[in-house]
């Protein structure tokens, strides 16, 4: 027999001024199943909660209705009070007679009768509540970090630094990402390699980090705390354990004319190669598509040159299946293909290059050893024109958004150019200078005031060649005049775009993306590193264009989220989940179709001899989020949602 306690809160005057609590108490006292009905000025206060607890103990209440504010306000408070008094916290309902009654109605008698109906219907509901226990989900305390750029490295180091295992997966032969291609970094002009390579080495040497390079995440299954990832390790044809990174094989390889991807085609590489000198791990890979042995069945010069027999032409790719509790996605960006701007002549004139090419030219470890030289003839350019927003903020041809880093790196390029080549002349066509960040505006001012960068506000309409010079025709909107600059080199500040396979990858691991393919965060302001899928976090430029400081801070934030999750062995979840009545389930799979979380699986029912009798639906409580869509889909009423069962809701409606 139900023994319900009803507690009517005055909320000071907030409720009592519009609802006649005396009438409410009297009416509810007479309601069948109500054991005790009390009123008090503030039930959420300590003495108020004590009253509730005492009543639960003294009257051995089986359910509690607190007629007060919204459950969004104090449900947690009173659940706690119930639990402390020995009553299951889910045997509580809050009747919202403040936000949805006393505050919105002015006639006292109408508000009172509405309050009576609201409270009564919840008394009927709570009579049918079931005792629920929070669901415990075990947490595998190992993190998967996808992408070995600066963001991924930072996240991996932070998680591993706190003592948790990390697997860092990178699809290129070396970690380092785009940052390893940069020369100097704004706004401090410290060399990118100098600050990055120690981090790369730290990551690969860390006892808690397993670095898997030349590997790709194929598939992710599971849910927060319990993911399973399939990681494809591509064949390197070099034994990682044996190789010492001496480089003899690279020296001897006869195929030398392959365009070097890391140098963006500014130099060549061999068929067995490391992408760059400081690669981590410093183990070469064989480019199967270009290797003479793989093409003709003859050569193996690298094998002969290797003194420790590290070359293994028989190596096969393999797929590893590893369990994880959390995933950090740090897959980074690409630069937009600038050939959409035919008028700038990219691809047509060798000396029209992108900002990333310029980074390689300016880099001490680059193809020119840090000398700024024209790709066409190797001469030092006297005048360089930089065109900003060559793709960004251009909805017609490029992308709508601002790529955020180009204003800064263009100023840096102009500076580096001046530092390396005195008496040089850099002209920068810009739309706006966006230099928001610590030390950023000072940096661009320095480029203009100390290093003589000539900023022209306006767009470029055309770049063409005339007598060995690149003529840049544009407009200076501040002077209101067309301008023409004779340049030796043109550098385009191309837009940052998502990785070409970003959308497909998002679908494979079950996270959302925006119209461009950048990954969606759970909330742009308040949950910027979480995705809508619990347990998967974001950092770096895969979420939006970012510079290094932002990527690193976001990586640390993602690591903090992972570590928060890993601070417990068990994850406690609200028990509001669906459950299937197996005796009536007919296996129509309507619920499987309805479930947005893939939480419903097919389960075999067998007799004692193991013969299959039928298949029924089965809800994974770890995946179920408790929306109840499946319940409404079920043709045979076999599935129900704890906390909002059919019985509870019908009872609630009938009492209205």
């Amino acid at each position: 027999m139900a023994k319900i306690g009803v507690f009517v809160c005055h909320c000071g005057e907030n409720i009592a001024s519009k609802v006649d609590t005396g009438i409410l108490v009297k009416s509810l006292s007479d309601h069948p199943g109500v054991e005790i009905c009390q009123e008090y000025k503030y039930f959420c206060s300590d003495p108020g909660q004590e009253t509730v607890k005492r009543a639960i103990r003294e009257h051995k209440l089986t359910g509690v209705v607190v007629a007060a504010c919204s459950p969004r306000m104090h449900e947690v408070t009173f659940r706690k009070a119930c639990a402390e008094a020995g009553l299951n916290p889910y045997m509580l309902e809050l009747a919202n007679i403040r936000e949805q009654c006393s505050w919105v109605h002015s006639e006292k008698d109408q508000a009172t009768s509405k309050a009576i109906e609201i409270t009564r219907s919840l008394v009927e509901k709570v009579k049918r509540n079931n005792e629920l226990k929070p669901i415990s989900v075990p947490v595998t305390r190992r993190a998967l970090v996808i992408g070995g750029g600066i963001a991924g490295i930072q996240a991996a180091l932070d998680i591993a630094g706190a003592g948790r295992e990390v697997v860092l997966v990178e699809r290129e032969p070396s970690i380092g990402g785009h940052m390893s291609q940069l020369s100097e970094t704004f706004p401090t002009l410290d060399c990118s390699q100098c600050i990055l390579t120690p981090r790369m080495v730290e990551a690969i040497q860390h006892p808690k980090i397993t670095v898997m390079t030349y590997s790709e995440v194929e598939e992710v299954e599971g849910y927060i705390g319990n993911f399973t990832a399939k990681i494809r390790k591509k064949a390197r044809y070099v034994d990682m354990d044996k190789c010492t990174g001496c480089g003899d094989c690279i020296q001897k390889c006869p195929v030398k004319k392959i365009s070097n991807e890391f140098e963006l085609g500014l130099s060549n590489r061999t068929a067995i190669y490391t992408p760059f000198a400081q690669a981590v791990p410093n183990v070469p890979v064989i480019d199967k598509s270009r290797c003479t042995y793989f093409k003709n069945g003859k050569c193996k010069i690298c094998e002969k040159s290797c003194q420790i027999d590290a070359i293994d032409f028989e190596q096969q790719e393999s797929v590893e299946t590893i369990e994880f509790g959390a995933i950090v996605v740090a897959t980074g960006f690409q630069i937009q293909d600038t050939s959409v701007y035919g008028e700038y002549g990219y691809g047509k004139y060798k000396d029209v290059i992108t900002g990333l090419h310029f980074e390689r030219l300016a880099s001490a470890s680059g193809p020119t050893a840090g000398k700024i030289q024209r790709p066409s003839d190797g001469k030092e350019p006297e005048t360089v024109v930089f065109i900003q927003c060559a793709g960004s903020r251009d909805p017609s041809k490029g992308v709508k958004y601002c790529s955020k880093i180009c204003c800064m790196y263009t100023a840096k390029h102009a500076m580096l150019y001046t530092h390396k080549h005195h008496g040089s002349n850099s002209k920068i066509f810009y739309m706006d200078i966006r230099a928001a960040g610590k030390g950023y505006d000072e940096f661009t001012r320095r480029a203009i005031e100390e290093d003589g960068a000539d900023y022209l506000r306006g767009r470029v309409s055309k770049v063409f060649e005339e007598n060995g010079k690149l003529i840049v025709r544009g407009v200076d909107t501040l002077l209101g005049k067309p301008v023409e600059v004779k340049a030796d080199m043109v550098v385009l500040a191309t837009a940052m775009v998502p990785q070409p396979d970003a959308k497909n990858f998002a679908k494979r691991i079950g996270i959302g993306y925006d119209e461009y393919g950048f990954y969606n965060e759970a909330h742009l302001k308040l949950r910027p590193v979480e995705t809508a899928k619990a347990g998967i976090y974001l950092c770096g430029a895969c979420q939006s264009p970012k510079d290094i400081p932002d990527s690193v801070s976001q990586a640390s934030a993602a690591a903090a989220k992972v570590l928060g999750l890993f601070s417990r062995e068990q994850l406690e979840r609200e028990p509001v989940v669906a459950a299937v009545g197996e005796s009536t389930c007919a296996g129509c799979w309507g619920c499987v179709y309805a479930c947005p979380y893939n939480a419903i699986e097919k389960k075999d029912i067998t007799d004692r001899n193991g013969n299959l009798i039928k298949q029924v639906a089965s809800v994974n409580p770890g995946l179920c989020q408790g929306c109840g869509t499946c319940v409404t889909f079920c043709r045979s009423n076999s599935i129900d949602l704890a906390g909002f069962t059919e019985k509870q809701i019908f009872a609630e409606v009938m009492a209205l």
Partner: protein, 149 residues
């Protein structure tokens, strides 16, 4: 009629958007007609057409279903399911003997307290014009002698 007709409106709402919107109307102290009774559910996806029929049977003159705007569902797609279900259910309304204007479908976000208040006032006014919905209530009298639900 001696007394003016006071309609009863039962609203089935999701807890993440419309319930929160109704709370916002409260915290903003917006005044609206006291004729609505709100049933809180996790998601509009949970709302069965049976709830609507039951409410009408029990004396509701109009039933409102309201949840998150398309694309905003806390559970990704519950409101889309609800919308499709409504499309199918609407086709069955003539069969069930319910005039279409007795059932209202709407999106109210957690930020739309004013929209919620306005909507309740509108529905109340319109229901007042429609008059009481009695067909099902009469049926209920028969059922009440038999059912234990």
């Amino acid at each position: 009629m001696s007394e003016p007709f006071e309609p009863k409106i039962v609203a089935f709402v999701c807890t993440y958007c419309t319930y929160a919107g109704a709370d916002l109307a409260g915290t903003s102290r917006l005044k609206y007609a006291p004729n609505v009774r709100i049933v809180r559910l996790p998601c509009t996806g949970r709302i069965s057409p049976m709830f609507i029929l039951k409410a009408l049977q029990k004396g509701a003159d109009t039933v409102l279903v309201s949840g998150c705007h398309p694309g905003d569902c806390h559970f990704t797609a519950g409101n889309y399911h609800a919308r499709r279900r409504w499309t199918v259910f609407r086709a069955l309304l003539a069969f069930t003997g319910i005039p279409e204007e007795r059932i209202r479908f709407s999106w109210v976000s957690a930020a739309e307290g004013a929209k919620f208040a306005e909507m309740i006032n509108d529905i109340t006014d319109e229901t007042r014009k429609l008059g009481p919905f009695t067909q099902y209530q009469e049926l209920q009298k028969v059922i009440e002698t038999q059912s234990s639900y």
